[in-house]
Every structure is written in C-alpha cells, then in structure tokens.
Symmetry: D2
Subunit: 336 residues, 4 copies
C-alpha cells in the first residue's frame, strides 16, 4: 500500500500517518520528494483495510499496490534517479556511459592492458569478473580475491572505476572493498538474501535481468535492494531465454522505453552476453543507445581466442576502438 500525502502536508500529518500504520502492525517507509511525500506500507500479508488512514489529515490518496514493486516505480518517485560513478552520472538526461572490459579477469597483463586500451578509447568504467558463475563445477570459476586485487591495480593505472560481480551475501563486504559498482548476475537476480545484503551498502549496484525474468520480477528484484536503503540501483538488460538458438539469448530492447515509463532507475544494456556473437555487438550497442539506454556494457579482450570464457562474444581492442568512434558520433547526434 502506498499513501500519497498532499503537497502541503506537514511533518505532523506525516508522523500521524506513520503512527497509524505502525498501530496496524505494519512498517511505514517515508520518502520525501521535492513536491510531496509518499509513505510506503510494508509487511502486510494481502489486502489492507485502509479506513484508519484514508481520512487522516494530509492524505491525498491511498494506492493499493498489486505489483511486487512500488519504491522503484515512477508513481512513488517521479524524478529520475541519477547515479554518480567516478566522473560519470548514469541516468536519464545524462551522457550514456560505456562500460568495457573482459568477461573474466585472467592475469595482471590481460586486465591492465585492456584497461589502458579501453580508457584511451573513451570507456567510462572497467568491467571484469573475479567471481564467475558457471553451469558446472569443473570449469574456471574466476580468480576470486586475486582478481579483485588485479582490478584495483588496473583502476590505479587508469583511473577507471570498476564494475565486478558478487555472487553471495558473505562476499559483499570483500567485493565492496575493491569495486566501485557491485554487479548481480542474471542467475542471482532472485537471490533475495544477496539483494538485501546489497541494500545495506553505500555503493551502486548493477542488477542484471534474469534470463527468464518478466519486467515485473526484474523491478521486484530492484525493489529488494531499494527497500533496504540503497537507492543506487542500475538495471541491466542482457537478453532473455527464448526458443531462438541463432543467438545466445534474445536481446529484449523493448524493455528500454518500457522500463523508462515504469521506473525512475537507470537502465543499461549488455549486448555481448545477449548475442554471444562478436559481429552482432556493435549494431546492438548502437540500437540500445538510440532506444534510450543510459549506457552499454561491452566485453573486450586483447586476445579473444585465448579467453578463458566467452571469447566468441568479446571484441578485440581494435574492434572496440572502431565501435567507440561510432558511439561518440551517435551520442553527439543524440544531443549529449
């Protein structure tokens, strides 16, 4: 349930509503906006009788939410969320960001070389996996802490903020020490304890859409992080699982305008994992930006053929340089 207060509702009105909610055994979360305050009611098991609240002074409207999210919705918070990372600000109205780097951190040479190159070509953030989710236990699972240390080194060399995945609640603290943005992978989109843990940190979280997650479930997952107190959530479309096998997943670009209507959170697109095919990455990256994505995340590897994971979808440094030229022109055409 969402209680929308009048523009001119006083602090006293808001406190009275909060108290009334508590008396019902529920939790009230108030989020002050520039124009009005809204109060989210959490903890109910099903529909709530709102007769004790609806007529309190200062209450404009009571909305019974049937969706699994409300705090990340535009109804609750009409202004865009803008998230600052390094020199960039991610979100609507801001210049789209480019996140680039290898699928997995493999060695000092590989990650530093890539970081220096993508920095030179204009990337805004560096990506690289230290913890890798893999279908079976018998393949390369990432360099783990050693990978984090190498990412920190690459950051030191280039100044690029670092995005890297965290897979389990107990590693949040460790990854938080090294990363500028903590990524939740598609397989963990509904790992609710991980989401809650990430809701308690200060750094931005990049939340990838699950491969069979509906938009409602995607925003519901973002709500877990947001409701816990961390409002810096960046959504990331990375392809959904469909019957089509010609591409690795089916990149669902329609979610860009759709999520922009439903939520105030920024949304970026990862065309590398979605397509699984190097030659499809540049056209899909550009399509995403034209459709309104607030950034793209692209895999780049100095030697894709020797990559320990996802080689076929990684751009070479030269290919990335070419893409960046095109993207710079496109971003400028789009008015940034």
């Amino acid at each position: 349930m969402l209680i929308v207060m009048h523009r001119k509702a006083s602090r006293k009105h808001i406190d009275a509503v909060t108290l009334a909610v508590k008396k019902m055994g529920l939790t009230a979360k108030s989020i002050p906006g520039s124009q009005r305050t809204a109060i989210g009611v959490l903890g109910n098991k099903g529909y709530i009788d709102d007769s004790n609240i609806r007529y309190l002074p200062g209450v404009k409207e009571v909305i019974h939410v049937t969706k699994p999210y409300k705090m990340v919705s535009r109804d609750f918070h009409p202004r865009e969320t803008l998230i600052k990372v390094g020199d960039s600000e991610i979100g609507k109205g801001k210049k789209p960001v480019v996140i680039a780097g290898p699928c997995a951190v493999e060695s000092e040479d590989q990650i530093v070389k890539t970081a220096v190159a993508v920095k030179r070509m204009g990337a805004d953030l560096l990506r690289g996996g230290a913890f890798k989710p893999r279908t079976g236990p018998h393949t390369f699972q990432g360099l783990k802490k050693e990978g984090l240390i190498l990412l920190a080194l690459a950051k030191k060399e280039t100044g690029l903020p670092v995005v890297t995945e965290v897979m389990t609640p107990e590693n949040v603290e460790l990854v938080d020490q090294y990363a500028d943005v903590l990524q939740v992978g598609a397989r963990n989109m509904q790992n609710f304890d991980l989401l809650r843990e990430l809701g308690r940190i200060k750094k931005p979280v990049l939340l990838k859409r699950g491969m069979s997650a509906t938009i409602e479930e995607f925003l519901g997952a973002a709500e877990y992080i947001y409701a816990e107190g961390n409002h810096k959530v960046i959504l990331c479309e990375r392809g959904i699982r469909t019957f089509e096998t010609a591409t690795r997943y089916s990149l669902d670009l329609s979610v860009i305008p759709l999520v922009n209507e439903l939520s105030h959170l920024p949304l970026i697109v990862d065309p590398s994992h979605a397509t699984g095919k190097r030659s499809l990455v540049p056209p899909m990256a550009k399509a995403a930006l034209v459709a309104g994505a607030h950034g793209i995340m692209v895999e780049v590897h100095p030697e894709p053929d020797k990559a320990l994971s996802d080689g076929p979808q990684s751009l070479t440094i030269e290919e990335f340089g070419k893409l960046m030229e095109e993207i710079k022109n496109l971003i400028s055409f789009l008015g940034f």
Copy 2:
C-alpha cells in the same frame, strides 16, 4: 547440394555439370554471378554421393547443404538483392523505406485520409489490411475485395505504392491486381502452398517472420518463394513469442545484423505488431534503423481509439509526423 564453379569455368563446363545432375534424377538451378556461377541441386532426399560431379572440369567446390535454404544465402549469391517499389529501392546501401498505414482498411475516408497524411509526412509506401487473419471466426475479418479497391483509390490519390496481405493461394491473383507488394502474415509463414504461389508472380513479396520461427525456418520459407522463381523477397521481423507479457511479442532486433550476414535479401522491421504499445513504437523504429534494417513498417490510424483492430499500437497522425521528423534526421546521420 551447392556446386561452386571456378571463376573461369566455361558455359560448356556448366552444361556438363547440369547434365550430370539431371542424370542423377535431380534438378540443377544455375545462378550466374558477377564473379562465378553456382549451381544449386534440388530434389534430393537426403545426402547425395557427389563422386560423379566433384571431379568434373570447372568445379571448384561441392558444398553439402544441411540448412533448409541455399538460394537466399550469401554463399549462393553474395551480392545484395535490391528491390524496386515505386520510387524506392529496398536493400543494403539504399535509403531505408518507411511503410505506414492502418492495420485494417475500414472505410474510404479512413484509408484515404491516412494515405494523404502519411504521404505528406514522407512515407514511401502505404500499408493496410484487406484480408485480416483473426484468432477466432467471430471477429472482423477485413473488407476483403472492397478493401483492395479502397487501397487502389488511396494509391491513386497519393501515388503511394500499396502493401497488403494475402492469406490463401487462390487469392494471390486477386491481390496481385491491386497490390504493389504482397504480404505474407506471420501465421502463414509456413503455408508452403501460398509461398509457392507467390513464387510465381512478378511483384515483390513481404514475408513476415512466424511468431515462433527460427532464423533457419524464416530463411527456409523465403527459399520457397525464391526457388519458385520470384527473387523479390523482403523479409520482415515482427516480434517473437516469449514468456514476456509486458509487450505483445518480443522484438528480436538481433536478427537484423544476423540475417544481413546470412542472406542477401533485404530485411525490414515492424515495431507496431511486435510491441503492441504505441509509446514503444518510435524508439524501436529508430533502434531498428540504427541496427541496419532496410526499412520500417508502422501502423498509423487517424483515430486509433475507434480502430477495428490493433488500436492500442497505432500511432496517431500527429505522432507519426513527429516520428518522421526524427527518422529523417536519423537517416541523414546514417549517411543516406
């Protein structure tokens, strides 16, 4: 099986190969290219022993095709297919076309009004359904022949060439009299007798991808038309059926670069049917063009709220005008 001849293979060499194929009880189709000739072998039931052919003079290579298509593939025909309709030429390297109009032709007033408006705003072709496939038999199925006559009238008023659907082999002759481009709907993508019938006409065919068709099946369907003799096939992506219900279908834009790699046929995109939601049409139309689509097909209705079908996804004339402004800038940015 595909027999690739040497660049310098003579007419005599080609004839000898053709004869050898016939002796095996199969059919040979030769397609002369600018650089070399290739000979497609049709009619086999499974793998063919090529020992009678492989060593004939002039034969460069024998490729055993496991894909359901070959004549529409780049291996067979490396040059782009360009298709002339009215003043436009559709295909790679040419200015992308805009096809606009209502889902269904409903009345003279509606179709003429729409045609005049979209012409003024810069559309290249007019679309409008006279025969409408509908899930159940108890809903509006189109004005049929009357609809075709109204389309002809709208063409006369505006000069816009007309694209309209044909649903059954026996109506091909009728629709051919009125249409400039005959459309095969998604539900009929594997109506093979319809495809064959369309392979025997002279006019271009716009083939929509089936809602659960793989790329291989899509190109296999195009092959039916092409193999019958009509090489003017325009492919059209219109969204695939997935688990996501927030949009009507999931628009699969990755097929644009993918099909461009696999086939020489032009490919356009229909963002209206794919998304089912007016506000998503403009961003998806622009994304398609940036990804390399050779045109877009958009639903426009003077009064979408009164449309007999697909109102929620139709742009108003004003919205279409605004989209055309954006598209003109984008097309110019893309170098056309």
Copy 3:
C-alpha cells in the same frame, strides 16, 4: 455473444430471439441441447448492446464472450462430442484410440507392411503423410496423390481407417476422397482458409496445436471449422516450442485436463513429434492416457534408420508391439 435460453423456452421464443439478432445485422446460430437451447451470435465487430435481446421472453442469460471461441466451449455445448471413425468412437468416456503408422508414406511395401503389423498389434487407425510440410523446399515433400492411393491400399488390406494431412484448401477435395480423418498440421493451425474449407466437409478433422499456439488460439482455430458446420473436430497436442532443446518440442500434457474443462471436443496426444526421441515415446504415451487423453498418435516405421523423415522418433514394429501390450493393460486399469 451467447444467448442462453430457459429450459422451457418455446420454439416461438427462440425464433423471436433469432429474428432480433438478425435485425441487428448479425447472424444467429442455434444449437439445441438436451436441456436447453443456446444461440450463438456471430459477425459482430466488438461489443454488442444487448438491450434488445436480454429482456425477450425465454432468455435466461446473455453472455458476452471475450474469448475467440464459443461453439467449441462447454458453456455453449456441455455434452461431450463423440466422433465415430471406423469401429472406434473418440471422446470422453470411450476407450482411448491408438493411431499408428509412419511419418511419411514412402512405398507400397513400407505402408502396407506397417499397416498389417500395427493392425495385428491392436492399432485402431493408420496414420501416414502423403503431403509433407518441410522447412525448406529442397527436401522430400511426400508422395502426394500417389501416397493417398497407397494409403487406400493399406486400408483395403487391413480395414484400418486412415488419417492423413491436407495442407491447402484446394487439396481438401482430393484428400477427402481417400482419408477417413483429415489432419491439419501444426504449421497450418492458423491457415484460416484451410480451416474454413474443412468446415464444409463431412469427415472428421484432426487439428494439431500450433507450436506456439496458446490454448485460446488452439480452440479459436477449432472454432473456425466448427462454426462452418463440421462439428467433428479432434484436437491434438504435439508439443510446444520452448527454450529446451533436449527434446524436439516440449510436450504440454497439462492441456489435457485443461482442454477437457474448457471444451467438449476430444483431445489426443502425439508424443512422437513432441519428443523427437524414440525412447521417450512410450512413457509419454502412457502419461497422456492417464492424464485423460482420448487417444494417442504414434509413429511406427519398419526400418526407422532408413526413413525419409523423422526416423529418430519412430518406433520399430517390435517396440510398438511392446508399447501396445503396456497400453492394453493401462487402458484396462483405467476402466475401459
């Protein structure tokens, strides 16, 4: 719109309602039941104002149908539809039927040999394709008329009624001369002209579910045949297209009880096309029967390894014999 009459409504009441419907420019189809008459209203474009009908004498209820089907629904016709073919009756409460035979008719020897064998083992009907839909034009498309003649021969030898596919409206007359049941393939489920043509014949139609058809679309397709006058429609589940590639399609057995709730039409299951894998056919055939299917359709080939199509999913004659033993026991356990 569906007008439900009182049990005791007189002929005169019914005629008055029919007249009122006609005055509205619509068509009334009356179906007398054992308990009451219902009148289906066809031809409307959207919602109908029912004020001229609702209060006529004898009218019990007016139901506004939003589903694409009504005549095939239980609301319209609560009694089971039972369809007689040869010695069998197909539908709820009757002994489930077994339809067996090769994917495609290939030769006299093949089809007669198979027919004799499956007859001996207890099959009720013979299947075999004379017209074969294939993804590309360059593979075996069936023996066509020759195949129909061979099926007739196999029927003469064994007495088994014959089920075979028809792919185009213009072939309905031809296939009708040879077949006892005319099959619509999954790719043609929404070939509406074919469905309408089949609605005008007297013989039963076996309608396969499209590979991405929802239940609503499946019953909507059946409605096309039924509304045209042919009430002998047998539905057939044959697997849907999903992300899973370990089986050819995903056999959706939940539709058995679901369709039995929604419709009075019989439903059979084809586990051969669904799974694409011989070893999965027997367990899925038995699962279908326990779930309430009114029959199964199974591919059997004397030499699956040499089959021109779908060999890997065909049972050998020995395997079919073993399955029939199990099925006989199971059917007897189920009380038939």
Copy 4:
C-alpha cells in the same frame, strides 16, 4: 575429463593415474563402482592433453567431457542412486513417494492439522515452507525459524520426515537442524554458493529445476552438490516458463524418462507449482508416476482460500484423500 579404468585395474594402477593427474595441476576424484573404477578429473580450464594418462596401465578409456556434469551422469556411475528418508527409499525400482503439505507454514494449527491428515491418507513426507522466496519484498516471506520449529512439532506428532526450503548458505546450518530433506527452490537452482554449502552436509537435498533451466544446466547444478561430497540429491521438475499463460508454468514431463537416461539420481515431480491450478494437479500427478517419476510433491492446505500463498493450486484435505486413493491403485498397477 573422465578416466575409465579396466575392471581388473589394481589399486596401484589407480594410484598411478591419480598421481599423473595431480602432476598436471588437476584434481582426481575416484569413485569405486561394483564393476570398475572411474576417475573424474576436475579443475581444468578447457581441453586437456591426455597423452600422459591414456597409455598408463589399467586405463580402459579417457572420455573428454563437454557437458557441465559428469559425476551425476550414468557414464560415471551406472547404478541407481537410492536415497533413504524416514521409512522410504527414493529412486528407481522403489515405491514412489508422496510428499504433501502446505506451500507455507502459517501456524501451529495449520501445519499440525495438515500433517495429521496427510499422514492418515498415506503421505510419506511432509512439506512446508518456512523461508519463502517472493517476487517483491513487501509480501509474506515465511515464518522463518518459527516455521522450522512448527515443522518439527508436526513431525513429532506424525513421524513424517520434513522437506523444507533453504535460501541462503548461512541458513543451511539452521535448516539442517530441523529438516530431513533440504530443498533448493527454482530461483536458487544456480545459486552456486548455496549448492556448494549443501554439498557439505549429510542430509538429502531436493533440487528444483530452474524455471528456464535446460536439462544440462539442471544436472550441472546437481553436480555442484554432488562434487562437493553430498551424493544424496533428489531432482524435482516443477514446470518451465513458456509463452503459455493458461497454466502457471508448463510442466515438462518428458524430462522424467530423459533424466532417467542421463543420470542415476532420483527425480520427483511437483504438479502444484507447475500448473498453478487445483483441478490440474491430480491428472498431472498420476501422469508423472506413469512416466517414471520416483515421487510427487503436492500442495495441500486445510483452507486453501485463506492460504497466505498459492491457495489456488492447493488441494483441500478431501481432494488429497481422493487423489491418494487413485495413486495407491496406480502404484499397485505399476507393480510396487
């Protein structure tokens, strides 16, 4: 890589192979079978040169595994895995088990009442969720530890072993104290840290298939638990996400015979979550058993209309009683 030893290979031969593997920087896991020993090689990043191993004495064959699982495959371990829980043994050749109970534990009265009833009607295990994964954070998330205590109480009253979900690695120890079988939910199927943690306990794990997991990914997830040392893994099919919305998910019964071919692990089926509709549960439960499932898991609630979650798919106690009668007859027909 999998090294298959000769039947008569000696301990010395095996040790020599193990040593050779270690020298390559890899890990060898030996699993002695009744007939022969196989040695699984773990830890490699890609293909391994096997020239140092292939010709060692006692080596019969070296299999290069491309699948993400090997220890759970029949190649590695041809005998059935049978898992003892309470008085039941779960797996091929054993009487199928029935697991019944509410979706979520709600109160002492609810869980004890249900436990007593399902025990009386013949259930073998009790299910009930104390930790509930929910799409959004604002709905009932389970009674947590209190729920575990209530489950223990219900077990004490009835003797029924308890199956309940664990959602996060740090709760494994807690849940392990109360549960007889620890369940991994569909959303956590690829929560690899949770899987590894469960690989270190002694109790059986019931692993639900992810809603968009392929069979390969499903068995890959089981491999995580198995490889860590816990061989008591029970697989559970619970429906996959497809385009069909008439049922909640699409129950994929073909996996029963398929998984039985690929793996030695037992597989049960949950028709309640799959269909989401009470009336479909009994036919699907019976179909699963006939197809070879080693058990079923069914939701039962004394008052489904008041259930805090998943009411529409829960059977009443009376309905469950009726289903148990049918299942007892069916199991007896199947020869148990």
